[in-house]
Structures are given as C-alpha cells and as structure tokens.
C-alpha cells in the first residue's frame, strides 16, 4: 500500500529510482521536500519575473523601475506587479499612459532617449 503510493509518486524518475523501493523511497521523500519548498519559492520567482518585465517595459519609455514604482505609489495607484507586467506585455498603450502618470508624479533624473521600434509609434 505504501509501496504502491510511493511508486505512483515516483513516475518519471531517472534510473532505479522509479523501480526499486529503497531508492524510490529516498527520492520521493526528497521530491516532496523540494515541492514544499518550491511552492513558497514560486511566489518569489514569479514576483521577480514580473519586476523584470515591468523594468523592461518602462525602460522602453525612458523610466526605470524604481522611479516608476515611486511615482505610482505617490499617485496611490494600487495595481500590483502581476497586473502591471501583463499590461506591459499585452496593452502597450495603457502601459504608456501609466508611465506618463508616474513620470508626472515623480520626474526621474534621466532625459528621455530617442525611441526606436515599437516605442517610437507609441
């Protein structure tokens, strides 16, 4: 019964870890530990990915992530990073409006560069 459950969880493992109970038991324990840890890590990783995307999107408009967030906080816009990253990927015009709002609220200290590519159309 326990062995059956362990082999069920050990599907797709490499080598003897999917077939032999002694090795499979160790590997399955480890796998469950990793999945416990990574359920918490995933939240951190996703947030850092959202921040990278927002950074890339705002830099296309001449503002960096820090100044952008500061401007949004000042204007009390409570959109979270997940939504902001989705906007920056799929709704470029709305995102540019947000960047302008932030820039008006908190002008950073960088001059606006010459735009190229998609940013020049916006």
């Amino acid at each position: 019964m326990n062995k059956g459950k362990i082999f069920k969880l050990a599907k797709g493992f490499r080598g003897r870890a999917k077939n032999c109970i002694r090795i499979a038991r160790e590997r399955v324990e480890k796998a469950l530990q990793y999945s416990y840890r990574d359920r918490r890590n995933k939240k951190r990783d996703m947030r850092s990915l959202w921040i990278e995307r927002i950074n890339a999107g705002t830099r296309l408009h001449g503002v960096n992530y820090g100044n952008f967030m500061h401007g949004l906080m000042k204007e009390n816009i409570q959109l979270n990073r997940k939504v902001l990253s989705e906007l920056s990927m799929h709704e470029p015009y709305s995102f540019k409006a947000l960047v302008d709002v932030s820039r008006n609220a908190f002008p950073g200290n960088r001059p606006i560069p010459a735009k190229e590519g998609l940013a020049s159309i916006l």
């Binding site: 990915l49 990278e52 995307r53 830099r59 296309l60 995102f95 560069p113 010459a114 590519g117």
Partner: protein, 204 residues
C-alpha cells in the same frame, strides 16, 4: 543594391554560420558601433540586448534576444593601462599549463575575440548561453554581409564620464603641451627648409 555598401571581405562562411539554426522571425537586427566605446560598458549593453531583457515579453526559459551585429571591433578602447596590462589566462587541463596572453597581442591576432569573450562572460552560464553566442556577430572592420536585413542602429545610453584624477589630468596637459611644442618645432623646421629651397631656386 550591393553597389552602395562596400563588398564584404573576410570570412563569409563564418559570418553566416548557424543562421539557419536560429528562429529569426520577430527578431530585430541591432547594430552596435564599437568605435571609441569602452570595452566593458559596451559588452554589458550587448549582453542585455542579447538576453532579451529589454523586451517586456522576457521569459527566462525561452531564448528571445535580438541579433547583435558589432562593427569596428578593432577600434574598441580600454581605460588605464589595460591595453598592455590586461592578461587573459586559460588553463589547458595539463598540469602546469596555465597559458596567458595580453590584450595587445589578442587585438593583433583577432580583435573580435576580445569583445566576444567580454560578452560571453557577462551572460548567465546556462543552457541558453550557446544559442545567445550564435546570435552575436562581431566584425573587426565596418563592413558586414547583412545589408539585406532590416538593421537598427543601437544608441548607447548617455554616460557620466568620471572627472580625471589630478595627477592624470596634469600628465595629460603636459603631454598636450609637448605635442604642441613638437608640432611648432616641426613647422618652423619645415618653413626654414622651404625658404632655403626657395633661395636655392632663385640663385639658380
């Protein structure tokens, strides 16, 4: 169309190597001009573009960087005494065989390797590194065989150059004054020669 840009001399096979392996639709071709740029600062910008980190659709498991073409690699500049003092070390695996080569010698042998090493060492060491290397094309001169592609020049972000240290600044001023004195001496020597030859012609 090939008449306006000059014909590409050099290794065409190397320049076009592996282009078929890259999925090229939607990628931009960014052209970097290395003339007068500082090596590390240029390399970090290239690395950012190559990873695709300037696009909001960045994903760490997908390779979505733009193609980077670097021109004028032989005109790259370094600050300080790095031209003579920066040494590239590598170990061949045999015991005692730590090889070294100076930046000066490397520029004589192959200037593109300098930029390639700099950029490659700035990329994250993962499975996408080789694909990113394939997207990077470096040419030591100003010609490249990619004139039929939609090229976009890359504008380097403005840089705050550090003020010169007092000792270095005094050395620079001394060197400038010395050069002016030399030039003035050369001109006066040339004027004397001209007047002498004029007199000789008049006499004759």
């Amino acid at each position: 169309m090939a008449a306006a840009p000059p014909a590409f001399t050099g290794n065409l096979k190397k320049a076009l190597a592996g282009l078929r392996r890259i999925n090229l639709d939607g990628l931009r071709w960014r052209v970097f001009d290395a003339k007068g740029q500082v090596l590390g600062r240029l390399a970090s910008q290239i690395a950012v573009v190559l990873q695709g980190k300037d696009k909001p659709t960045y994903a760490p498991h997908v390779e979505n960087g733009d193609m980077c073409v670097v021109l004028n690699a032989k005109d790259i500049s370094v600050t300080g005494r790095k031209m003579t003092d920066k040494i590239y070390y590598w170990h061949t695996g045999y015991i005692g065989h730590l090889k070294e080569r100076r930046l000066k010698d490397q520029m004589e042998r192959d200037p593109t390797e300098v930029i390639r090493k700099a950029v490659l060492r700035m990329l994250p060491r993962n499975r996408l590194r080789d694909d990113r290397d394939r997207k990077l094309r470096i040419f030591s001169g100003g010609e490249h065989p990619f004139h039929d592609r939609p090229l976009e020049p890359f504008v380097m972000p403005p840089r705050q150059v550090r003020e010169m240290r007092p000792r270095a600044r005094r050395a620079l001023i001394r060197a400038q004054k010395k050069e002016q004195a030399n030039r003035a001496a050369a001109e006066s020597a040339k004027d004397e020669e001209d007047s002498k030859t004029a007199k000789a012609e008049v006499k004759v």
